[in-house]
Amino acid sequence: MNPPLKPILECILLVSDTAVEFDRLVLLFPDTDPTEIRQALEALKTEYDERQAGICLVQVAGGYQIRTRAEYADWIQRFLKPRPQRLSAAAMETLAIVAYRQPIVRSEIEFIRGVDCGAVLRQLLERKLIRIAGRKPIAGRPLIYATGKRFLEVFGLNDIRDLPRLKEIETAAASNPETELERIRSMVTEQADDGKYLT
């Protein structure tokens, strides 16, 4: 009528947040000889080693603990890396404007989009999708924005000239920001629909 020690110990070590003291395990099985518990732990440890599990049973200061094997740390790190996020529509739009109209200063972007773009530009800079390419030698010396290497990587382009050029955009009267914006919008939507995640 002995409880199946090995699986129970495995459960307990895997639900505990910290290492489990041997004494606590002994208390949990009052009718079991502590030697048997020790043996079961040893058996579990051997089992993990023999079946080349991703985990191992170690004895640390606080007691027994199940841990991942050190050699898989890289994979875990890759897995736990924050998941890539989609760009917001506003960011996508701004990015498209920079990509197609670079080099460009903030006031020009804002003229096209019709809204303040400070936060969006900062976000794109942080994600390295655009970069600061200098200052325009005009009053106020505004920052010039352009896309960089990272942008090409993310979009799988070899060269900025590989950007899709929709005919409409090529022939668009650049003087009309309204229709321009519409075209950029439609273009951006197309890209977004590819379902690509931007990193």
Partner: protein
């Protein structure tokens, strides 16, 4: 009536902790402050009427209604509005006789039932029986009973944290929140070497006497990149017009790091060995 109450309370332990109200004040919810059973019973036996709130016994009028339906095996698919109304009203009456306060929504339900009952008594207007006034109450009752039964079924599932537990091991990675980490100078050289390899297409290394000094290059870079902006080392050097130009830029970067104008960081997740130069404010 108070006699009956005493018998009940003596025979049964006090009803629900924290629910029994003395006139004018409620017992605190903290169980430690709740008077002992003995105190309560003494109180019951000796003093003026006290009140129990119906809300402690039935969550709401629907709960009471369904309780009565179950208790009396009423067929909800062909509900007798008279019977359910009668039973409901009797129950309320009985509760009140026991000094159990009946809240307004229970009375509202009573009114609803009575009004439905009244409608059933009106001569039917020969329309199809989708307009059966009983459905006004039968439908919600059926819906509630269905979902109540479902909630009981759901409780039978092996609930995580109750009968099954997520197995987990400690995360072996300490620094996860910081996506970029500081790199040492050796990595910076490595990165530079790589860029220079790529720049080899620009021809042999020519020492130009006319070239800008490192200080001039620092000023040029600072003119382009403001405080707190950043640029990748690759990008900075890739713009070089010649190998020596790249070297000067690189030396300028080193000088700026030394002067604390720049710090360099490396994004290990990036997959490239690119170094990010961050301009200090």
């Amino acid at each position: 009536m108070s006699c009956r109450l005493q018998v009940i309370c003596r025979g049964e332990p006090p009803i629900v902790h924290g629910s029994i109200r003395l006139p004018g004040r409620a017992f605190p919810k903290n169980p430690n402050q709740i008077p002992s059973k003995f105190q309560l019973q003494t109180h019951i036996l000796t003093s003026e009427p006290f009140r129990v709130d119906i809300g402690d016994l039935f969550e709401g009028p629907m709960d009471l209604l369904i309780y009565l339906i179950r208790k009396n095996d009423i067929d909800v698919t062909d509900i007798s509005i008279s019977e359910i109304t009668e039973r409901y009203l009797k129950a309320l009456e009985h509760l009140e006789r026991m000094h159990i306060e009946v809240a307004g929504d229970f009375l509202l339900m009573a009114a609803t039932l009575i009004s439905i009952k009244a409608k059933t008594l009106l001569p039917s207007s020969d329309t199809e029986d989708a307009n059966d006034p009983r459905l006004e109450i039968a439908r919600p009752i059926q819906e509630y009973m269905k979902l109540k039964a479902a909630s009981v079924d759901m409780q039978l599932l092996p609930l995580l944290g109750d009968s099954v537990f997520a197995a987990h091991v400690p995360n072996p990675i300490d620094q996860l929140l910081e996506p970029t980490i500081d790199v040492d100078l050796f990595e910076l050289f490595g990165a530079f070497e790589k860029v220079m390899q790529r720049l080899s297409g620009l021809g042999p290394l020519l020492l130009e006497i006319q070239g800008p000094s490192i200080q001039e290059r620092i000023e040029q870079i600072q003119a382009v990149y403001g405080p707190r902006s950043f640029v990748s080392l690759f990008e900075l050097i890739e713009g070089s017009t010649s190998k020596i130009d790249g070297v000067i830029t690189f030396l300028a970067v080193l000088e700026m790091i030394k002067q604390g104008i720049l710090t360099c960081r490396m994004d290990p997740m990036d997959g490239t060995s690119d170094v990010l130069l961050v301009f200090q404010s």
